[in-house]
């Protein structure tokens, strides 16, 4: 079983992010790291391939400045190879263009039995790319997968919903988006890190993939304004004077949750 994981490389969330004032987009010039959201997809892919007993995990990523640090992390975890799409003309690309680019990169890898993405990235949060990739590739898509197995050539997914989960069966190949926390991503070992150094990573441009127009030119959106999110009001602190539980019960009853 071959699995391709779409991995985003993002500015380290531990560092304060900065917006480019002319375009209202996130500055992504420095070193980028593997989006933690994607580490779940990588782990799930590795587990599915291990369970199948054959096949490999490949990666596709789109990032500026030929950045591969985050992809190397995923290779160190155990992925086998990857394609990076990096091209100054891609700057300003919207979610749909990104999906077209990733779909073309997936095509260049020859497709796979399963394509995995995170439900949303930790820096952009559009949360639409996986379904767009599926649509561009003409594949079925299952979102919010929290448990995934392959049985008899079909995909069985427990799909997170607000009330619980749906059990979905779907033919392969397919595209799924996985939610954070569904598996415990492994720590890359030193051996894995050293091996990742020599694993094949191909860097291509949008033109190499035949995707045009891209960047601002291809974008169906402009970002006209960015405003600060309103600070959340501080919660209510109940000092426990021995009757604290009663106040909490009253509070929850008031919300009609109990």
């Amino acid at each position: 079983m071959n699995v391709i994981v779409c991995v985003k490389q993002i500015p380290d969330p531990a560092m304060p992010g900065e917006l480019n004032s002319s375009t209202n987009t996130l500055k992504r010039e420095g070193k980028l790291i593997l989006d933690e959201s994607d580490s779940y997809g990588v782990e799930m892919a590795l587990q599915l391939v291990a369970a199948a007993g054959e096949g490999e995990v490949s990666l596709v990523s789109m990032a500026p400045n030929n950045e591969v640090s985050g992809m190397r992390t995923a290779l160190a975890m155990g992925a086998s190879k990857g394609i990076l799409v990096s091209d100054p003309s891609l700057q300003g690309s919207d979610a749909l263009t990104t999906a077209k680019v990733l779909a073309a990169a997936i095509g260049r890898l020859g497709g796979a039995d399963l394509i995995i993405a995170a439900t949303e990235s930790s820096d952009g949060y559009t949360g639409t790319v996986p379904e767009q990739v599926a649509e561009v590739l003409g594949l079925p898509s299952v979102t919010f997968a929290k448990h995934v197995v392959v049985e008899g050539g079909a995909l069985k997914v427990n799909r997170q919903t607000e009330e619980g989960y749906d059990e979905v069966t779907c033919p392969l190949p397919a595209v799924i988006s996985v939610t954070a926390g569904v598996v415990e991503p492994r720590y890359p070992s030193f051996k894995g890190i050293m091996a990742a150094k020599s694993k094949p990573l191909e860097t291509v441009t949008a033109a190499d993939l035949g995707v045009t127009p891209v960047g601002w030119e291809g974008a169906g959106q402009t970002i006209s304004n960015v405003t600060k999110a309103e600070a959340r009001a501080a919660g209510e602190i109940i000092e426990d004077d021995g009757e604290g539980y009663a106040k909490i019960v009253a509070f929850l009853e008031n919300l009609k949750v109990i």
Binding site: T73, A76, Y187, P188, S189, F190, K191, I193, M194, K197
Partner: protein, 379 residues
């Protein structure tokens, strides 16, 4: 000329830091308070490949260099010195003697589990009357038929009584000098005493070990008979670089938290860090940490280059461990009263640091090694 670690080393540092911060740091205070040896966490360190880093892949190791081991010990030690020494001793005193001096059969038997971190080895050199002067070893091994029968007492032996301790390598006097023997856990005549109550390193496992008519087969002798003294000196050389890395982790932890506190703690109408008395102490600490890092990684580099490093290891161990003790004292001072309270990790580092100046050769012994390297006839 190049002072950079490779990008792979840096990536590895980040992995170990993530691991240390999420799997160790949240529990370190509790383990310390309860004197718990956290078996599952030690096994997780094994799963991460830390115990096998420097050993070849054929033994299940990571094919890594000594610098990578220093990175791991430094990063683990930055959050928990007990887990740092557990790693350092497990690799340096447990697996390394078998790897360096073991026969093919001995390696087959003991090395894979030690390398994987499924088992821990201990090294019993110190005795009640032989510490710095390890040549004064009184433990004896005598030939009885095809076996060696060992009698003696070892003290302060790290990792000797954990649930996964597989072997204790001990030095003992034989007719031709000092020899080294591998004693498997559970061997009749081997007694592991109840753990010490220590000033620090509470989560590290330390016991006295008694060998009473303890019989091991002939093939448990490690290295040539009579070569024990030379061999353990060379084992300690490696270990000193590792202890230097552990001390560096301690000093870095102190510096980092003291800087943060000096910026946020206000007294007399402003942050305490605006007083030169505080700021200069932290500036001096920064210098010490920088020096300790350079000495540690230079010694590791010399070793990795296959060059002589005994002198460099002694310098690194001496400097870094004294810097660590200073760092805990200065950081506690910066924290004031709250640095004396056990809820603050600085209090734990303060207790943990002192042993660094003692174990694997005291500061005085390092000065002797360094002075001898200068050609001085110091005794």
């Amino acid at each position: 000329m190049d002072f950079d670690l490779s990008p792979e080393h840096e990536a590895f540092r980040k992995v170990v830091r993530d691991f240390a911060e999420s799997e160790i740091a949240p529990h370190a205070a509790q383990w310390d308070e309860d004197h718990t040896f956290p078996l599952e966490t030690v096994k997780a360190m094994g799963d991460l490949g830390l115990f096998g880093l420097v050993f070849p892949a054929e033994w299940g190791g990571g094919d890594g260099d000594f610098a990578s081991l220093c990175i791991a010990i430094e990063e683990i030690g930055r959050v928990d010195q007990s887990m740092g020494i557990t790693l350092s001793a497990g690799v340096g005193l447990g697996a390394n003697p078998i790897f360096r001096f073991g026969t093919e059969d001995q390696k087959q038997r003991w090395l894979p589990d030690l390398v994987a971190g499924r088992a821990l080895g201990a090294f019993g050199l110190t005795e009640p009357d032989a510490g710095s002067d390890a040549g004064a070893t009184r433990t004896r091994a005598r030939r009885v038929g095809d076996n060696w029968v060992i009698d003696g007492t070892k003290v302060f032996i790290t990792n000797s009584g954990t649930p996964i301790t597989s072997i204790i390598t001990v030095t003992a006097r034989t007719d031709d000098g000092i020899s080294t023997f591998v004693v498997e856990a559970g061997t009749p005549g081997l007694t592991i005493e109840t753990p010490y109550r220590k000033l620090g390193w509470h989560a590290s496992d330390t016991h006295g070990v008694i060998l009473d008519n303890c019989s091991v087969p002939d093939h448990h002798i490690l290295g040539a008979s009579g070569s024990g003294f030379r061999n353990f000196l060379s084992i300690l050389d490696d270990g000193r670089i590792a202890i230097s890395a552990l001390a560096l982790g301690c000093a870095r932890a102190c510096l980092g938290s003291a800087i943060a506190y000096a910026k946020e703690r206000n007294a007399f109408g402003g942050p305490i860090g605006r007083n030169q008395g505080i700021a200069f102490a932290l500036a001096d600490l920064e210098v010490a940490v920088e020096n300790a890092a350079n000495l540690t990684y230079k010694a590791a580099w010399l070793k990795d280059q296959g060059r002589p490093f005994t002198h460099a290891a002694a310098i690194a161990k001496l400097y870094s461990t004294e810097a660590a003790v200073t760092a805990t004292r200065v950081a506690t001072q910066v924290f004031g009263g709250s640095g004396f309270i056990e809820a603050n990790p600085i209090a734990r580092f303060y207790r943990d640091a002192k042993i660094l100046e003692i174990g694997e050769g005291t500061s005085e012994i390092q000065r002797i090694v360094i002075a001898r390297g200068l050609g001085l006839p110091v005794s």
